[in-house]
């Protein structure tokens, strides 16, 4: 019963944490990419 319970909870915990951290990293990367694009477009053309 212990293996059964800890197994189900463990898998959900790993996947849920991965989901949350993945969503957070996506937000950060999107913010970084927007900032990067903005900087690139603001640079004066030679």
């Amino acid at each position: 019963m212990e293996v059964f319970g800890s197994g189900i909870i463990g898998v959900y915990l790993i996947m849920a944490l991965l989901m949350v951290l993945m969503q957070a990293s996506i937000k950060i990367i999107e913010y970084f990419e927007r900032w990067n694009n903005k900087t690139a477009s603001e640079e004066p053309q030679p």
Partner: protein, 372 residues
């Protein structure tokens, strides 16, 4: 002259044949038929079938410890955990995690499908298997061959052949097993739900994903390290785009070579003495049960998520939470498009499908942590 002939006959395999050997030949021939004629997972079933055949030819001693040729493949490849991680390296180099990154919520569907593993684990114990055997049977529900072999070789090596053949057979039978369960557990209206276009995923997100996933999963479940590290390394090769030769080698030559040794070694564990046991029949039955329950729990998880989501998902994609990449996703797409011609679920189903691979590895790691 007569003595020479007599000696020849009695020292040959023919004189040592038993009913068990002949029965195992039949099993091998059936698997060869399924692989060649029906093309059910031929890359695996063919070497497995050949392994079964040759190991059941008397006096060949191919699996004789320290002497037999296939024993060396098995010992160094499977027992020492070399082959399954190398298969995962190749898989990582082939898999596109883009659909999962586009919709990270589908990770929960990958987790939902793993509930079937634990239900089967419980059922196997009730049917008289010990904890380690029950875990290696339950993992069949994950529909992930290398993980089933990895866990089986550690927890119940005496049942490895049966669990591996069951896992690959049911993976091949996805288009037959899953659709009735999908139709049974969803309404027509649910199957018709259309899912919009997927969010575009940038290269940076795809490069960060394997690094981040490897770190998180290995930190939380260290026994998953051999499999998850190789899976994510292969994916990093692919997504970085700077090591094309390594990506190609991992996804072609390497995975093809290790697949040969994996199949042959697993098949060779199925000697008559091991296979002709009522418990093996139970393994096949429980494997099918695991696969069905995993499909069902994936679907039910998607329906449960729909209670909270503003934009509903098509619950069929939950069935792809069992690994079986990409057959389960294709099957979801087929059933979805039967209900609604405008439904294009393939890429949406790939998210839970690849999440299922990670989920099955996590489940195997937890089994190993508790029972290994």
């Amino acid at each position: 002259m007569f003595k020479i002939l007599e000696g020849l006959v009695f020292s040959s395999g023919v004189a040592n044949l038993t009913f068990g050997h002949v029965f195992m030949w039949l099993v091998a021939f059936v698997l060869m038929y399924l692989a060649i004629k029906k093309q059910y997972e031929p890359l695996l079933l063919l070497p497995i079938a050949f392994g079964i055949l040759v190991v059941n030819l008397p006096l060949t001693f191919l699996m004789e410890p320290e002497h037999g040729l296939i024993w060396f493949f098995y010992h160094y490849g499977i027992e020492m955990d070399i082959i399954p991680p190398l298969v995962f390296l190749g898989l990582g180099a082939m898999i596109d995690f883009g659909p999962l990154i586009a919709n990270p919520k589908t990770l929960l569907l990958g987790a939902g499908a793993q509930v079937g593993l634990y239900v089967t684990f419980f059922a196997a114990i009730l049917l008289g298997f010990d904890l380690k055997e029950a875990a290696s049977i339950g993992i069949i529900g994950g529909a992930d061959g290398p993980t089933a072999i990895y866990l089986g070789s550690k927890l119940a090596p005496h049942m490895l052949g049966a669990t591996a053949v069951a896992a690959y057979s049911y993976m091949a039978l996805v288009p037959i097993i899953q659709p009735p369960i999908m139709r049974l557990l969803t309404t027509e209206a649910e199957r018709k739900i259309e899912m919009g276009k997927m969010r575009p995923v940038s290269k940076l997100q795809k490069v960060v994903f394997p690094v981040m996933t490897a770190m998180i999963v290995m930190l939380l479940a260290p026994p998953s390290a051999p499999l998850i590290s190789m899976l994510m390394l292969g994916n990093l090769f692919k997504e970085s785009g700077v090591v094309e030769r390594l990506t190609k080698a991992s996804s072609n030559e390497l995975i093809n070579i290790v697949t040969i040794f994996q199949g042959l070694s697993v098949g060779a564990t199925m000697t008559a003495a091991v296979f002709l046991n009522p418990k093996v029949l139970l393994v096949f039955f429980l494997g099918l049960f695991a696969f069905c329950v995993s499909t069902a729990t994936g679907l039910l998880m998607a329906k449960f998520m729909n209670l909270f989501l503003k934009v509903k998902i098509n619950p069929l994609i939950g069935a792809a939470g069992v690994s079986a990449v990409p057959m389960a996703a294709r099957c979801v797409h087929k059933v979805g498009s039967e209900a609604n011609r405008r439904n294009y679920l393939l890429m949406h189903a790939m998210g839970p499908n690849v999440a299922g691979v990670i989920g099955t590895v996590a489940a195997a790691a937890i089994f190993l942590k508790n029972l290994g």
